[in-house]
Amino acid sequence: MTKNTARNLYFIGTMVCLVIFFALSIHTMSTIPKYTNSEKLTDDVIAGKKVWEKYDCIGCHTLIGEGSYFAPELKDIYSQKGPAFIRAFLKDPVKVWYGSAEAAKGQRKMPNLHLSDEEINRLIAFFEWVDKIDTHNWPPRPQKAAVQGAATKPPVSAQEAGKVERGEAIVKEKGCVACHKIKGVGATVGPDLTGVARRLDMETFHKRLRDPKLVKPDSIMPAYGFSDEQSEAIIAFLKTL
């Protein structure tokens, strides 16, 4: 091969690759509405992306895997933790995650960015939209698939199934593992629920499930307002652990 052959191969090869690349890019752009639900790209979502950029969130977090690896991936934060948690957390990250500044000492923690309520709302709208981008199921979340599977099943009625099954269905549907650990799976924001039903007295437990603030005024757990019947099912399930 002479130098001229090598040069010609280089120029032609580059041109061919560029043409294919641009053609695929045009095609990919035409699929954006399908893969990203662009019709749901509301003004709040667009404003939420601006909030995301304004506070340089990518300087610590990753979003669909790109960013800084210092703080958690947020692609599916909306379905993993839910809007109530995100709101409470952004208001006071240290308190929600560690309970107190004392407990957070020496731990990695998010600074309080003092976001306004409007900014938080927009950010949550943005996360909700990002959550639904079709990323070929990235990040891999085995327990998320299980939780979603449970949620799509029709609710189990009192007559047709036992309390334990109903309790398990509620725990999966509400995504308790987003904050609590159950048999080694889940997060550490709230206490581990394995064996908890054997430790607490039943009256307090029912109260907590209705509204955690009735028992612990500074609790960050949202009030799910479970009925007595639901609470009993949940407790029945937790007792089996």
Partner: protein, 444 residues
């Protein structure tokens, strides 16, 4: 100095080295925050210094490229720089723009998109500066009238870098409202720079150094340069697809990205073989041993960092579990160091003594710099790699919560910080060797 206007190359090198020192300080800062999270918490937080760290990286590498390009075209074209004052003006413009952006980050002024955080006005200024630089380079070559292949490849790299910077402006004019659209064109700048046109710049500079250091026949060298940059573009352009796996695009990118990006290491392997083969052929032992160390070091570490460390997690089956983990950080460090930091340092080790009529940098100081940087960077790469394996397995594969897994990784981060300190000492040795200005062979 044979050509008076080479002083503009020297000025660029001085600014580039200063920014490298600042980049390393910012890196140490966030390295400390990984190990001791209370370090300047809520005063200068991780994200601020991380943004500064990666911005300084880009700015010093680009300014280094500019200085090295001036040196290369002056020597290749055997003529003075077309407009030395324009060169100094755009250097000052770039330096002011870069410093302004960094001061802005300290006060929370940012566009919040990784690597492209600079405010719109600074991005526009950078565009003007880069165009002035490219114009000056092209006019110098035109003036000399010798379009050597090394210069053609260099100019294609520089023009390509300017062109692919343009998509970075899109977010400021409001066209990237959809995150997936934003990311698509973000990669046109980020990927097509570092895995595309920057490799052309690097290939041209590596060829130039080999020409000078080995005295091998130009025809042979330039033929292989075309082969290597041919492989670079063949694999790199469609290899962009390896960033498109999980971002909301069709699944064909998993095939295209996987196959083409898996051949990216061949370009770097080609460069390594090329460098060693030419050194073997060298008819004479060049007196600048330091430049030979850095040139071969560049060839080896570019292959390891950008080639091997990249291909390791480029297939979608692997990337599914490693994407967005410390594996990426490990790869990023070794790749940028091996390919782009090293080529700039190699150009300095060759050009600065040559301009000053010396034979080489002080060998003892410069080789201490070389080994400390190599050892420090290897330490950081392996520590982050270990952390990344733990993270991919525990978080992605075993779906444990992020923070629980991070708690297991403290030791890796501590080892990485130690590597960072070693690297920083190496950089200081390099700065010392640089300002000592070089020695005659008799003094080595």
């Amino acid at each position: 100095m044979k050509y008076k206007t080479l002083s503009v190359a020297y000025n660029h090198f001085v600014v580039a080295l200063l920014l490298l020192v600042l980049q390393v300080i910012a890196g140490l800062w966030i390295g400390i925050q990984y190990v001791f999270p209370d370090f300047f918490y809520q005063v200068i937080d991780f994200n601020v210094m991380r943004t500064i760290h990666i911005n300084l990286l880009i700015v010093w590498i680009l300014i280094g490229f500019m200085g090295a390009s001036y040196y290369l075209v002056v020597e290749e074209s055997e003529t003075e720089v077309w407009s030395p004052s324009l060169a100094n003006i755009h250097l000052i413009g770039f330096a002011i723009g870069g410093v302004a952006a960094i001061v802005g980050y300290l006060f929370g002024i940012t566009d919040g998109r990784e690597f492209l955080e600079q405010p719109f006005i600074i991005k526009l200024a950078i565009t003007v500066v880069v165009l002035a630089f490219v114009l000056n380079i092209i006019m110098t070559i035109v003036k000399g009238g010798k379009w050597t292949s090394v210069q053609i490849v260099l100019v294609m790299g520089l023009v390509g870098a300017a062109l692919f910077f343009l998509p970075a402006l899109g977010n400021h004019v409001g066209v990237y409202r959809n995150l997936s659209v934003d990311k698509f064109y973000w990669w046109w700048t980020v990927h097509l720079w570092v895995e595309g046109v920057w490799e052309l710049i690097m290939g041209a500079m590596l060829s130039f150094l080999l020409l000078k250091l080995t005295g091998v026949d130009r025809e042979v060298l330039e033929k292989w340069l075309y082969v290597i940059v041919g492989i670079t573009f063949f694999s790199g352009i469609l290899g962009t697809g390896h960033h498109y796996y999980w971002e909301g695009y069709p699944a064909y990118w998993l095939w295209i990205g996987g196959i083409f990006s898996a051949s990216e290491p061949f370009a770097f392997l080609g460069m390594t073989i090329y460098a060693f083969a030419m050194m073997e052929k060298a008819g004479r032992a060049h007196p600048n041993r330091v430049a030979i160390y850095f040139t071969l070091g560049c060839a080896i570490f570019a292959f390891l960092g950008a080639g091997v460390w990249g291909v390791m997690h480029t297939l979608p089956q692997v990337n599914r579990y490693t994407h967005g983990s410390q594996i990426t950080a490990s790869h990023g460090h070794l790749a940028f160091f091996g390919a782009y930091a090293m080529i700039n340092l190699a150009m300095m080790t060759y050009a600065v003594p040559a301009m000053k009529g010396k034979d080489s940098f002080n060998k003892r100081t410069a080789l201490a710099a070389f080994w400390l940087m190599v050892i420090g960077m290897t330490d950081m790469t392996l520590a982050l790699f270990g952390a990344g394996v733990v993270q991919a397995f525990m978080e992605r594969y075993n779906h444990m919560p992020f923070m629980v897994v991070q708690d297991q990784m403290w030791l890796f981060y501590a080892i990485r910080l130690a590597g960072g300190v070693i690297f920083a000492v190496g950089v200081l040795f390099f700065v010392k060797a640089f300002f000592q200005g070089g020695v005659k062979r008799a003094d080595v």
